[in-house]
């Protein structure tokens, strides 16, 4: 029974293998046998290439996505625009805005007064990248980072933008990135979910997170993101209840699975199989999870590295540390969300609090993966769903202002797993409003991340409602400039 999960994966490849190895000789007939899809007119319902393995040698095996929910301002973090400080209070020229549609929050503003960063910037590292004074620890490891200043999206509000960057479409119910990775690459450690989600909340103005961001969409529900609890026990209800020992639990699961298989034979619903697998997974997690939360093998100075909050369950720092342990234990995709980056107002007071939450631990994660020899096989991504406007939302004063949503250009960084370290990719104009060189669209970002994981984004597909879907749908170009 413990091999169930694995065998199933082999079944898929074996079926695939058999379909390829048609036997026989004879001109056209033989040839057509070598091309299973040429005359059949019907596509296989499987992806083009075998599932569960990368299509080609991957640069990264795992992803840790440090999602900064609410959209941190690029102008106060990595995209240094001194012109905005010089022109503070002046109106954004219409030639720069170029008819950009605005959110309901600033669409009625009569003036768009430019405002520069309240925080200072300095250049760091060999790459000389500009980093805000708010992020001193990220600045220290800037030569490990691949900073992309030209991310751009189509959505101007949180929900569609979040949904877009997480699932490749602005409407809901498409599988999220993590679910696609789980579908395409399978899980590394059979005792933990392939896709885990960790949530935390900062002190700034927050935006919601919801399960459609980690949904399996139309994929099998085993690919859904598993949300960990923010309490002392990251996974609830894993302990056997009083009076039930391991053996009776095993017997119960075996019987239950027999019943479920009867159900499956009757209905043929693959979700029944998924359910059986999930029970098995939960059973194995009972052994695997206690090791995860065990800090006894970590040295004391890990606390200084990640910051003291890493021991307080539910904080960003604790989630980052847990993410490292999950990733180290073979979890394919760990998705963090840190809420509180939506600074429509009071930005100079709120952003430092948010930065304090994430700066030290995010940088520590990179260093920690590196010293364990894992950075070259783990891709770390840090960033939000869109950027923020270069003009002030609401009342404008020199030392207090806010910024609205901006889709045309924003900054994220990646590190490790096959991206070029120590580069700044792409350029924005002096106003920080438009991309002038090397744009990276959300679809391009997805295509590139998949490539780093050894997947061809055009070939990982799933047929649903009469057509095949991809994470990048019908778009997406690789960004070779960031691939090492």
């Amino acid at each position: 029974m413990e091999n169930e999960f694995f065998k199933n994966r082999l079944n898929i490849t074996r079926r695939h293998f058999l379909s390829k190895s048609a036997v026989g000789l004879g001109s056209m007939a033989l040839g057509s046998l070598l091309m299973p899809n040429l005359f059949s007119g019907e596509e296989e319902n499987l992806a083009q290439l075998p599932l569960g393995l990368p299509h080609f040698a991957p640069k990264a095996k795992r992803i840790i996505y440090l999602f900064q929910n609410g959209a941190p301002s690029q102008l106060e973090t990595f995209d240094y625009k001194p012109l905005l400080n010089k022109m503070a209070g002046e109106d954004l020229p219409e030639s720069i805005r170029g008819g950009q549609r605005l959110t309901g929050m600033t669409a009625n503003q009569t003036k768009f007064p430019l405002i520069g960063s309240y925080f200072g910037f300095k250049q760091y590292g060999q790459s000389g990248a500009w980093v805000s004074d708010m992020l001193p620890n990220m600045a220290k490891i800037v030569d490990e980072l691949c900073i992309i200043k030209t991310m751009n999206t189509e959505a101007i509000n949180h929900d569609p933008a979040l949904t877009f960057i997480q699932t490749g479409a602005q409407v809901g119910n498409r599988p999220s990135m993590g679910a696609w990775m789980s579908y395409g690459l399978g899980s590394e450690n059979k005792n933990l979910p392939a896709f885990c989600v960790l949530l935390s909340r900062g002190r700034g103005n927050g935006q919601g997170v919801y399960s459609k961001l980690w949904t399996n969409g139309f994929l099998d529900s085993t690919h859904q993101g598993v949300v960990f609890s923010s309490g002392e026990d990251p996974i609830l209800y894993l302990k056997d209840i009083d009076g039930i020992d391991k053996d009776s639990r095993r017997r119960m699961l075996d019987k239950l699975s027999e019943l479920n298989h009867l159900g499956f034979e009757a209905s043929g619903d693959p979700e029944v199989q998924a359910k059986v697998q999930q029970y098995e997974m939960a059973y194995r997690m009972q052994t695997a999870v206690p090791e995860l939360t065990d800090l006894s093998k970590e040295p004391d100075h890990i606390v200084k590295m990640y910051g003291p909050e890493c021991l307080v369950p539910g904080t960003y720092a604790a989630n980052v540390l847990l993410a490292r342990k999950l990733s180290e234990s073979g979890v394919r995709f760990v998705q963090l969300y840190h809420q509180g980056w939506d600074q429509h107002g009071n930005l100079p007071n709120e952003m430092p609090l948010q930065a304090e939450d994430v700066d030290r631990s995010s940088a520590a994660l990179i260093m920690d993966l590196k010293q364990r020899g894992l950075l070259d096989e783990t891709l770390v991504i840090w960033g939000g769903e869109f950027g923020r406007t270069n003009y002030c939302q609401g009342t404008f004063t020199k030392d207090n202002y806010g910024r609205d949503h901006h889709p045309r250009a924003y900054t994220i960084w990646m590190a490790g797993g096959g991206v070029k370290p120590g580069i700044v990719y792409g350029e924005t104009d002096e106003f920080g409003y438009n991309v002038i060189k090397d744009p990276v669209h959300i679809n391009d970002f997805h295509a590139t991340v998949m490539h780093l994981m050894g997947l061809n984004h055009e070939q990982l597909t799933y047929k649903h409602l009469g057509r095949r879907y991809r994470l990048t749908d019908v778009a997406g170009k690789l960004v070779p400039g960031i691939i090492a």
Binding site: L10, V23, N191, L374
Partner: protein, 715 residues
Amino acid sequence: MNRFFKVCSYLLLVGNILLLFLFLFEEKVRIPVWISPFGRLHPALLHLPIGFSVILVIFLFFKKEFEPKSYTFFVKLILIITAVTSCITALMGFFLSKEGGYDAKLLQWHKWTGVGVSLFTYALTWFYEELSQKTRAMQLLSAGGLILFILAGHFGAAITHGENYVFEAFETKEKVPIFSQDSSMYRAAILPILEKKCMSCHNDQKVKGELNMSSIAKILKGGKHGVLWKAGDTLNSILLKRVYLPIEQKEHMPPKGKEQLTFDEIALLTAWIKEGADMKKAVKNYVPLSKARSLAFKISGGSRSEKVYSFSEISENTLAEVNTPFCVVTPLATGSPALEAEFFVSRKFDRKSLENLLKVQEQLVELSLAKMPVTDADINLIAKFPNLEKLNLNQTDITGATLDQLTQCRHLSSVALSGTKINKAQLQKLMALPALTEVFVWNTSLDSVAIQELTKKYPKVAIDAGYKANPNEILKLNPPILVNEDFILKKNMPVELKHTLKNVQIHYTLDGTDPDSTTQTIYNKPLAIDNYTRIKAMATKDGWRASGKVDYTFFKSSFSADTAILLSEPNERYKGKGAKNLIDLKKGPNDNHGDAAWLGYQNKDFVSLIEFKKPVPLTSVTVAYLQRIGSHIMPPASVEVWGGDNEADLKKLQRVIPAQPAKMEDKANLGINVPIQAGLYKVLKIVVKPLPKLPKWHNDKGKPGWFFVDEILFN
């Protein structure tokens, strides 16, 4: 014999149509595994058609020596055999080509000419009858066919042996400088880049842009636009400027269409110029932290791209056998024979599970045993994997005593030993491994001196010592954490605080003042609280900055009332669940006054009657209220408590006028404690007046305030 010819001609028809067909739909063809041996026979079989065609041509020239009948027969026989072997060879070649890994351009030519040969010889068998009479035409055609053969053969040979195979011996071989510590950085690392990527246009014969790079002197002279670089000045070095230009621009170097510099090569050129562009400085004289130095090592050591393995793929059955839920073995990628294995869940690990992997002894190239209870005795097992490249032993139980056994793994290039008990001497035994490029020794006994020594001795190996806490860096402590989940304390329930770090002092106050590191009340055991209390706390620890403050409000409930009724109705919008809210011991949230736990009053007194079944000895009554100044929710103007044995006989016990905030304050759950004369009470009446007018400093001064209540507590 006729039967033989007949079979052959059918075979030829079928074979050639198949060939054409495959050729046309080349992109869609997938070759099943069982065909590949046939494909691989191509290089052997191809000699047959070549041989037969040569015999055929020779035959044609000796027509006179034969009887006409036997001549015709022999030519036909040989022609047919040539055609059949050509066709089969071409088919096999096609299968072989699908395995990939060949120069695409050469392969394309070879395919076209190969198919050409097959079709050409096949056509000859068709027209043989007509042609056999015309000796001249036959000779010409055969000669033409032979040329086709030679071309096809040439391209094929170029694919396998390289383009210059035959004349290689005549070529003067460029001396590729061997990377060594003693040679100059320029010779060891910079010159090879220039030779490979620049010199095809900038040499003695071809001097584009008046730049000749064939000698150091000529390079230093520069070209039309001046000298190539300014030592130490990366921004004003023409060479770098050209390299960094976007590829679309005309001035970009190497020009579009030529082989471009790789990212590492660009980085190396930049670093080398930045570090002084010294033409003579030896590699060993660069400081260990030099970027140019580390890049030079990286480029010279790891220039190969995707690795090709010579060992064979294992069967799916074997793969299934070695896989368990706690040991996952997978190919590196689709179609790769190389495997990686990872172990999970330390409780399930034993030596046997590692032994099990010997079934894939040859194929295993990556092995992760991180956090598994691997001991020194297990190292000899690991050493049995001859092709191991990457080994992760982080946080295992090894002491390093048997580490030298790993020197058997000649391909080992990356070893992670972080968090183990190894020492310098043991590590040193590994360092000489020929393929080794990186070791990870964070959190081991190796100090910076030891690492420096090893780096000096083995410069090709990057030793990562990882993070070391900086004793001078003072971090801010995180605040104390409240253990209690409920803010209403029943009976003897204490207030409990904790901190996640050891040796932390928690300073606290109970009087509403802000604590700091000088506050003398230090938390050392759970606090017994006998009344409504606001606790403020912060933490200090040697070597850390003091934490921020936490602020919690606790309500004490010694006696639960049995019934509550409201004598005045709350506001329509904030009726909550009515009177029972007041005695259900459930607090309302401070960020949502619309919650059903709250009762709201404005312009109207709150009057409630509380009853106990039996008289209880009380000394105080606490009214729990909400403060959200922005939403006009204020402390009440006054609180009156009446008490007695029954409703008709109540005495006014106490009247309290709470202090009003003097400025904007944060939202909070607060309480007013009303001390009453100690005694036994059965019935109590509470009368609360909301604030009639918001204070002068408020944005909406003068408007009536709200009073929100969720609990009334008795002690």
